[in-house]
Symmetry: D2
Subunit: 340 residues, 4 copies
C-alpha cells in the first residue's frame, strides 16, 4: 500500500482527495495536516466523511510526514508549497502539488502573476497526463494544472498542435461553479450575492491565462496568447469552458471530431461527444467531455466540461499519483458521473 499524506486538510480539494482515496484500493491514508482545524477530525471539518475518514488533523511536521509517507498531496494555496516541497523531495517523498508553485517553466512568469519564488531551482512536471504522461511517470514532483487550464488546454490542444486555427484570435470564455473559490467565505461567493446572478471576474487578467499560454505555446511551437475570461455562476461544482476559434482551413464538424477522437484515442478520462457537453455530464467524475460546433464560415466553438474539483484538481492529482506509482490510472476514479 502506498502511504499518502495530505497537507491542507481543511480545504475543498483535500475533502475531494479524501473522498477519492476512500475507495482507492492501493493506498493508505498516512496523515492529514492543516494549521486551521488541527486537533479536529477530518469528518468534523468535512461532515460528509463521517465514518469514512475520522482521522485527526494535525499541524504539519515535515520530518514526520517525510518518514511516514510515500507521496504527499500539497492542497494548500500557492506560496505555501514552496516552503516545504523541496524538503520532502530531498527526503525521497514524491509530491503532487495542487497549487501553482511549480507549474511554470519560466519562474519569472510565476513571479509576475503570483509572488517571489523561494525555490526556483526545483522543477515539477506539468501534470496533464494526456500530454505529459511519460514525464509524469518518472516525476518526483508533479505540478497539478489549474482547473481552467485543464479544460482550455484539453479543448484546444488538437487544433493548436496541428495549427488548424488562427493562433492570434483564440478566446476562452469559462463558467465556473463556486467551489473553485475555496472553503473560505467571501463576498463573491456569498449566496445572496451570487445565488441568482453571474459575476465576471479577473477579466483578461486571470492567473490561469499564462498557464494556458505556456502549454498552448509549447503545443504550437510558437507563442500563443489566449483571451481568457472566467465567470462565476450559481452552481457549486463544474466548469464549462467555451473556446471560440477561427479555422484556418475548411473543416467540417465531423472532420474536427475525427481529429479529436484520434488525438485522445485511448485516453481514459477524455470523452469526445457527438453532442455538446453540459456540466452535469461529468459531475463527481474525472472526465473531461469535449464537443464542438462549426458554422461553415470558419468559426468554431470547442466546449469542454469538467468537474473543477475532480479533473480540475483532486481527481487529476490522483490520476497523476496513479501514473507516478505505476498503478492503473483509473484506480479510485471509476465512479460514474452523477446526473441528475
Amino acid at each position: 500500500m502506498i502511504r499518502v499524506s495530505i497537507v491542507g486538510a481543511s480545504g475543498y480539494t483535500a475533502a475531494e482527495l479524501f473522498r477519492i482515496l476512500s475507495v482507492h484500493g492501493e493506498v493508505e491514508l498516512a496523515g492529514a495536516y492543516a494549521l486551521r482545524n488541527a486537533g479536529r477530525r477530518v469528518s468534523e471539518v468535512h461532515p460528509n466523511l463521517k465514518g469514512i475518514v475520522d482521522m485527526v488533523i494535525e499541524a504539519a511536521d515535515y520530518d514526520r510526514i517525510a518518514g511516514s509517507s510515500d507521496v504527499v498531496f500539497a492542497a494548500v494555496p500557492h506560496k505555501v508549497p514552496m516552503t516545504f516541497v523541496p524538503r520532502l523531495l530531498n527526503s525521497g517523498v514524491r509530491v503532487v502539488d495542487l497549487s501553482a508553485d511549480y507549474r511554470f517553466d519560466d519562474v519569472s512568469v510565476y513571479e509576475r502573476y503570483y509572488t517571489k519564488h523561494e525555490s526556483p531551482e526545483v522543477r515539477g512536471v506539468y501534470g496533464l497526463p494526456e500530454i505529459y504522461r511519460e514525464k509524469i511517470r518518472r516525476a518526483n514532483l508533479v505540478a497539478n494544472p489549474g482547473c481552467f487550464p485543464t479544460a482550455a488546454v484539453l479543448s484546444l490542444a488538437p487544433l493548436v498542435k496541428e495549427r488548424l486555427i488562427d493562433l492570434d484570435h483564440i478566446v476562452v470564455d469559462a463558467k465556473t461553479g463556486t467551489s473553485g473559490a475555496g472553503a473560505t467565505p467571501t463576498e463573491a461567493t456569498h449566496h445572496p450575492t451570487i445565488g441568482a446572478s453571474v459575476r465576471p471576474y479577473s477579466v483578461l487578467s486571470h492567473r490561469h491565462a499564462p498557464e494556458m499560454d505556456q502549454e498552448l505555446s509549447k503545443l504550437a511551437g510558437r507563442a500563443v496568447r489566449v483571451s481568457f475570461t472566467p465567470h462565476l455562476i450559481p452552481i457549486v461544482r463544474g466548469i464549462l469552458s467555451t473556446a471560440h476559434v477561427f479555422l484556418n482551413r475548411n473543416l467540417g464538424r465531423e472532420d474536427l471530431l475525427e481529429i479529436y477522437r484520434k488525438f485522445y484515442a485511448g485516453e481514459p478520462f477524455v470523452r469526445i461527444l457527438d453532442v455538446l457537453p453540459e456540466v452535469n455530464f461529468v459531475l463527481g467524475s474525472n472526465y473531461c467531455d469535449i464537443g464542438l460546433a462549426v458554422d461553415g464560415e470558419g468559426r468554431a466553438a470547442v466546449i469542454a466540461a469538467i468537474d473543477n474539483l475532480m479533473k480540475g484538481a483532486s481527481g487529476q492529482a490522483v490520476q497523476n499519483m496513479n501514473i507516478m506509482f505505476g498503478l492503473d490510472e483509473s484506480e479510485g476514479l471509476r465512479g460514474a458521473p452523477m446526473r441528475p
Copy 2:
C-alpha cells in the same frame, strides 16, 4: 415631503429601503449612515442603485440626524438601536426600528434571548399593521417585526384568536432564503455550502420563537408556545412558512378560507389564495400570501409566503411609516411581485 434617514446603510434591509423609497412620492432621503462604508456612495455599496441613490454614506451623528429627519429607519443589528433610539425620540424624531430591540413587551424575554437592554423604559409598538394599525398610527417608535414572526403570526392569527386549533400543538416549519442572514459572508451562506443543500438551524431555539409566542399568546388570551424550526434553502429571497395545526372542530377548507378572508378583509397586503402559496408569488412585493389545506381528520396546514426583505423587513417598515404619517399605506409599495 417627509425627511427620512437610514442608519445602517450597508445592509440588505437598507438596500431594500433605498429601493422602495426611490419610488415613494412623499419622502425625501435626508441621509444615509453607516460606520463601515462611510465615505462611499450608497450606489458603490449597492451597485443596483447606481444613478438612483448616489448619496454619500456618513458616519452617524445623531444630533445632525435629529435635526434633518422626520423619521429614521434603524436598519442595524439588535443591541445597536437601543444606544441611539431614545435620543432620537427625545428630539422628536420618529423611529422605525427593524431590529428586535423594542419588540418585546417583557424586557426579560428580550434579555433572555438577546442581550442586556439599555433602555428598557422605552416602549415601541409592535409593527404588524394587520393587528396594531391604530397603535402604529400614533406611535413614535415602531418595532418592526421579525421576518419569521410576520409570516407565522399572520398565518395563525385567525385560528388562534378564535381558538379553533389545539393551542398546545402548533408547529411552524419555515424555509428561508439566504438574504435573511445579512450581507456579511459566513460559512452558512457560503455558496458551495448551501447552493445545493438545505440547512436546518436554531432548531427549537430561534430567537424569533418568543416573538411569535408573545403575539399569539395575546391573540389567544392565554400562553401559547409554538414549536418553531427554520431551514436555510438555496434561494436568495423569500420565506415559506408552514404552520401545522390540529383543528378543534370539524372545519373544511372552505370554512377556513372564509374565516381568513373575513379576518383580513380590506388588508392591502394580505392575499388569501384559493391555491397554495409559493415564494415567487410575492417576490419583490409587500404581500403576504396565505393558503391552506385540511385532511378531513382534524389536521390542517396553513402556508404563508412573504419576501423576507419586504413584508419581512423593509416593506413592512415603510408600510408602518406610511401609517405613522397618515399617508396612503401602499405608497412606495405598489410594485407587483416579480414572477418568474
Copy 3:
C-alpha cells in the same frame, strides 16, 4: 456474477442504478428495457454514462428477461410493475420493485391512494433493511420504500417503537429536490417556476403518508397517523425531512442520541450525528444522516437527510439486492458523499 436487468431504463432511478452497478463487483448488466427510448443506447439517454453503459435499450420482452436475469429492478411508475412482476417471480427471477405496487400490507390502502391492484395476492417484503433485513434476505420480491417514508420512518422509528412521543401529534415536514419528480418536464419542475421559489404540494394528501402510517403503526403496535407535507425546493437531489414531535417524558438531547445510536448500532447506512444533518452531507451516497434537537419543554425535532435517488430509491434498491443475494451489503455503495 449476478445477472441484473433494469426495466424502465429511461428514468432517473434507472440512471442511478446504472451508476451504482457500474462499480458493483458482483453483478453483470444483462439488459436495459424501456418503451420510450428503445433502440437508443443508455448513454444517449443518460449522457453521463457515455463509455460506461453503452448497452442498447430494448422494449421489454419478459420471457427473455426471465431467461437472462437473476434479478430485475422495476424502475417504472406504479401500476406498471404489477403487470409483469408476477410473471417474473413465477419464472424464478427475484425482483426489487421501486414503485408503490407492493408496499402495502393492506391492498385497499393501495387502491385508495393509487389504483386498482391487479395482483393483490402477490406479497412483497417492505425493503427497509434497518427494520426488515431478515425478511429481505429470504424475499423474492422486495418493495423498495418511497423516498419520503424512508427518511421519515428512519427518523421516527426509535421514538415510535419505544413510544417516547405523543403518537397523535407527529408532524413530518419534508423538503425535496426536483429529481424526485422524475425525468418528464412539468410545470412544477420548470426551472423558471421553481428555480427561485418553494412549492408546497400534496399538502396533507401525499401518497407517501399512508406508507409512513403503515410502518410507524407496526412499530408502535397501534394506529399512528402522521401529518405529512412535502415542499419542492430548488435543489436537484436530496431530501431533508424534519419530524416535529412532542416527548412523553423528560429526555434530553444526549438521551435521545443514545437511543438512536443503540437502535441503529451496526447499520452501515445510518449515521447518527452530533450536529444537525444537511442535505450535502449525504449527496451521491446511500447514507441516511439523523440528528436532533430538543427544547427542554417536551418538544423535539428529528431531522433526517438522504439522497432521494440513493437511500430514497436506487441505492436502497441495490442494498436490498445485496441482502437478497447474500453479498456484502455495501457492495457498489461505498462511494463517499460528495461535498461541496
Copy 4:
C-alpha cells in the same frame, strides 16, 4: 389614458408587461388575449398578479381589439404576429411586436432563420431606442429587439461605429437565465437537468446572431458577422453578455469608458459602470449595465447585463411605447433593480 391590449397573455413577457403596466400612470389595460387560458383570469395564470390584474383572458378577436385599443403588444411567438399585425395597423392601431417577425430589413434573412413571411411588405422600426429613438417616435409598428441582440448591440455599438475593433473577430458569449425559454416546460429547462448545470445551445447557429449582424453592420457601414454562442445557466432571470474583441489601436480602459459614456450620454436606461456588471445589478429593471476590461495588448472584453424580461423584452417594449406616444420614456419603468 392610452388603451393597451396584450395578445399572448399566457407567456412570461405578457406577465412582465402586466407587471410593468400596473404601475404605469398613463395607460389603461383594455384587454388580455390568448388561446390557451381563454376564460381564466390573468391572475390565475400568473398568480403573482392576484388582486392586481384579475381581468379575464379572452380569445383574440382582432376587430374588437382594434376598436378598443390604441396600442397592442404582440407577445406571441414569431410567425403568429404576421397573421394579425397588418390588420391592426390598417385599423390605425399601433403595435409593439415582441417577436422576430418584423426585425429584419431583408426578409430573406428572416425566412432563412425563421419561416416564410406572410406580410413582407409591412415594415417595422427596430426598437432599440438608443439607436433609433427618432424613428420609433413616428413608428406605427415597432419590432422589439431580441434579448441577446439588445445586450450585444448595446455593448458593441460604440466600438463598432467608430471602428475601433477588428470587425472580423468579434466573439459574443452569452449566459442566460431560463425564463428566456418561455413558460412551456421542456427538457432543457427541466430543473433536474439545468439546476446544477450549464448548457450551451444553438452554438454558432442561434437566430439572434443575424439580428446582431444586421444592426452591427449598419453601425459599421460594412458587413459584420459575430461569432455568437449562448449558454443556459441556472438562474431564472438575466443575461450576461460578454463581447470579446481585439482593439485596432492603443486604447486604455479609461479611454474606452469615456467613449461609452459619451455615446450613451443622457440615455435613461444605459449605465456605464466603473466596475464589471453582474446580473443582479439590473434584475427587475430596464437597465443595461455595461463595463469593460482591456489587457494592454489589444484585447478587450465588454460586458453587458440586462434583465431578459425587461430591457430584453417587455421593459424595452414599454420604453418603445412611451416613445411612440410622447410619454416620459421612464414611465412605468422607474422601479430600482432588486438586489440581493
